[in-house]
């Protein structure tokens, strides 16, 4: 009965996570699985279901679930029948003691994520709806299926932070799960043993240190690592967390959260240790193989080494794709993200996503939500029938529920800033200023702002679409400048980003700050002629896509090539020599206002 099999590839990790998860689903918050959709994920989800205790609920939550269904509220049918208000339990309360599967988690709205997070934190659902006030104890685990492409499509960070396991089926395999390292009896035994399993201080310290080394700020990461280590020890029949458990836990919990590469180990220290600890040089999974169950307790003398072992295992386990991300500056990688995907592009006349209902008068321009209106009227039927002595359904003015839509003028402004050549610094600084002013001013209109900077060989997404000033400030604080002018790549990146935003229901406007003199072609090579041809081609693509755009030339002496570029893009051209952030903002706002109104 080996506790850990060798060859800790992603397939093995999936099987291991399934076993660990099954021991105490509610204690882990849940699992996020990133993958394309396919049989692999389905099999994995089925496996999780199979390993749960018998009878544990396993529910699916559709993304468009309404608050009433999610949290609970008035049960329309039962209320009409009973003639008194009847409470319906929501999906969350129904899933108590089991799992909630969340397909397409990458599209989960923040507001919905916040409701899930509240339940994960408080272990209860607080219902304050439709005249009911109650609390349901709700200990659930969330299985978030993340089918996002590219790096901008991820489940909300707040939710991910609360899920212990982040699996990735994307790169290495399609989710084929190998034989389970533990059988059902072992899992059952581990459930009973779990409360007695303790982790020593050395283990906690090693987790905290490793988390800090890979730039993970949230305390939930080391906390979950501790939980996982305890569960792993319980599965292996130990009552105390061994180094091997710590290594597995750090690999599963900490490594996928890395936001930076850990600094290489200090050479002299690792040298001293190398004599009495050969295994450290081996990959960590082999290390754990050598440890017999029950005898791998970390004693005080080992403390310093455990830190290194854990960090080393994290370093070895940071997924390759994550490393690549950490190397490449923000997102030159996004160019391939959104091409050729079809989807509902726009909704009809009353645009915007429905955002619940509220009571109100029926006036021109409002829409009645019939079901909600009936729901409001339902409890009163018995009384009203008695009063009027008729059997009709009585709906009165107080019952009217009006559909609310999200602001139809939710705009997104994509700044595309030329960071090449000599004027780069000035231009960047002003664009940055305009972005921040815009965000500082946008709480009312709920606009989003993104910034793409282009220089040298490529265009980078410096600031993904956001309405958070805090985030913008952080992303914008260090912007490099200088180098060639790859106008074509910039336009392509802007078009892809704007296209994605449009799919999400925003009205994008592209604001390009450049003098228009392209000298780097799409393939990254120099050569003014090819570069300009590419730029014009990309500009025309933008016009065909029908994206509203604005070209601003803020160089001292405006150059005709910028005007030409604007003409190709179908953009408005605005020479603004010596523009500062505020002038820029005014110009941009004038254009976006028109776009939103159009």
């Amino acid at each position: 009965m080996t506790s850990v099999t060798a060859g800790a590839g992603p397939e093995h990790d999936a099987a291991l996570v399934a076993c660990l998860f099954a021991v105490d689903p509610g204690g882990f918050g849940g699992v996020s699985v990133r993958s394309g959709c396919g049989p692999g994920v389905d099999r994995f989800v089925k496996l999780l279901h199979r390993l749960l205790p018998a009878g544990a609920p396993f529910r699916r939550m559709p993304l468009q679930v309404a608050d009433g269904r999610l949290l609970g509220g008035l049960d329309l049918a039962a209320t009409l029948q009973a003639g008194r208000p009847v409470l319906e339990r929501g999906l969350l309360a129904d899933a108590d003691g089991g799992c909630l599967v969340l397909p397409m988690a990458e599209r989960l709205p923040l507001a919905l994520a916040a409701r899930l997070c509240a339940v994960l934190d408080n272990k209860e659902v607080i219902v304050e709806r439709d005249g009911f006030a109650c609390r349901h104890a709700t200990r659930i685990a969330v299985i978030a299926l993340d089918e996002g492409y590219g790096d901008d499509e991820r489940p909300p960070a707040a939710l991910l932070d609360r899920l212990a396991f982040h699996l990735n089926f994307e790169a290495a395999h399609r989710g084929e799960v190998q034989d389970l390292p533990f059988d059902a009896d072992q899992i059952e035994a581990a459930r009973a043993r779990l409360s007695a399993v303790m982790a020593g201080d050395a283990v906690l310290k090693a987790f905290c240190q490793a988390a800090a080394a890979i730039g993970v700020a949230s305390v939930r990461a080391p906390f979950f690592a501790t939980r996982v280590a305890c569960v792993h020890a319980a599965l292996a029949g130990r009552e105390r967390v061994s180094d091997a458990d710590a290594v597995v836990a750090s690999r599963l919990v900490l490594a996928p959260r890395a936001t930076m590469r850990p600094a290489p180990p200090a050479p002299e220290e690792s040298h001293e240790d190398s004599d009495d600890r050969d295994q450290q040089q081996n990959p960590p999974e082999n290390n754990s193989l050598n440890q017999e169950a029950g005898n791998g307790e970390s004693d005080a003398a080992n403390n310093g080494k455990l830190d290194d072992v854990v960090l080393e295992s994290v370093r070895a386990a940071i997924p390759a794709h994550l490393l690549a991300q950490l190397e490449v500056p923000a997102a030159a990688r996004r160019s391939s993200a959104a091409s050729g995907r079809a989807g509902a592009q726009r909704q009809s006349a009353l645009r915007g996503r429905p955002a619940g209902t509220r009571s109100g008068e029926l006036k021109a321009g409002t829409r009645l939500n019939i079901v909600e209106t009936l729901r409001a009227a339902a409890p009163w039927q018995k009384l009203r029938r008695q009063q009027s002595r008729s059997e009709r359904v009585h709906v009165r003015r107080d019952d009217f529920r009006i559909k609310r839509f999200k602001h139809r003028s939710e705009t997104a402004t994509v700044f595309v800033v030329d960071a090449s050549g000599s004027s780069a610094l000035h231009r960047l600084a002003e664009a940055k200023g305009a972005v921040e002013l815009m965000l500082a001013d946008c709480y009312v209109r709920r606009d989003r702002v993104a910034l793409i900077a282009f220089r040298g060989g490529a265009a980078d997404l410096i600031l993904p679409p956001t309405r958070s000033l805090a985030r913008a400030k952080r992303s914008l604080c260090a912007l490099p400048g200088g180098g060639g002018t790859p106008v074509a790549s910039a336009l392509d990146a802007a078009a892809a980003l704007a296209d994605g935003l449009r799919r999400k229901g925003f009205t994008p406007t592209i604001v390009m700050l450049t003098d228009g003199r392209a000298n780097v072609a799409r393939d990254g090579n120099g050569g003014r002629e090819q570069a300009e041809a590419d730029a014009r081609a990309s500009a025309r693509m933008l016009r065909v896509a029908g994206l509203a755009s604005l070209v601003i030339d803020i160089s001292r002496q405006p150059h005709p090539s910028a005007e030409q570029l604007a003409a190709d893009m179908g953009a408005r051209y605005l020479p603004l020599p010596n523009a500062d952030a505020r002038t820029l903002l005014r110009a941009v706002q004038a254009v976006t206002a028109q776009t939103a109104a159009a």
Partner: protein, 341 residues
Amino acid sequence: MRPIYPFSAIVGQDEMKLALLASAVDPSIGGVLVFGDRGTGKSTAVRALAVLLPAMKTVVGCRYHCAPGSNGAMCSECHERANQGRLKTQLVPVPVVDLPLGATEDRVVGALDLERALSQGVKAFEPGLLARANRGFLYVDEVNLLEDHLVDLLLDVAASGENVVEREGLSIRHPARFVLIGTGNPEEGELRPQLLDRFGLSVEVKTPTELELRVEVVRRRDQFERDPPVFIEKWKAADDALRRDVVAAKARLNAVEVPDAARERAAKLCMSLGTDGLRGELTLVRAARALAALDKKSRVEDTHLRRAAPSALRHRLRRDPLDEAGSTIRVERATADLFGP
């Protein structure tokens, strides 16, 4: 009821803890906004505060927990009963009411009591969360994600201290004075400035950077999750001591003297920072007074002003995104200029 993590077991985060305690000592400071990174124990602290609050005296049977003898701030029912004779009083825990995301408007402001209307044909008012939070705390987690129409409602009630209900044929007004506590993550969206201004104090929390502290956070959390009753018992003495401090500070509060010099310094500080309106000064002085009371001092000293200044002022600075320094640093700079390093 699920077990609550003890307040005194929270590691670090001194500014947040102090702000919450100050608002418990003097509710008129006007609430606390806690903004910060994920996993820093924001909501843990707020929920822990609830356990710490001393009991308050209320009129028996009053649904708004009216305070006996506070003529101006009583509900109409208590007024009537007070006129007829003496009010019976009782001690109840200070309410800390959750306003969950997804709450409907009728539950927030209150609505017609369906059960009674249907079974007895009585038109009775079923109080909402605002009524329940009267004289206590109203807690909104993820306050920046609260729906706009609920935010408008809160703004209105927080300003007037009174909830006016005109719906379903009811016309009711009742006192709704509460300390608004909000938590959130700034990366998920900014707060409207009107709402920002309603919070007396605002705190930014960060994950502790020292390894020892982080280890301690994880260790205590693990112990708590393992066996909540034992953990709570272990910290009970510390929590009790803290509660006594709050009670003593509350009793001492009115006797704490605010010298003219202190008021002058507060005003100077606000002027040099260019805060809008007088609310900043007022809050700063009140918060400093609460801190002095917690410190068992009889008068407000410079150290209290200094400690209160960042929380009381950082969210009131005129937003200038072009100024690189965060508002915390600007406040600290201004205090250093005024009080010396």
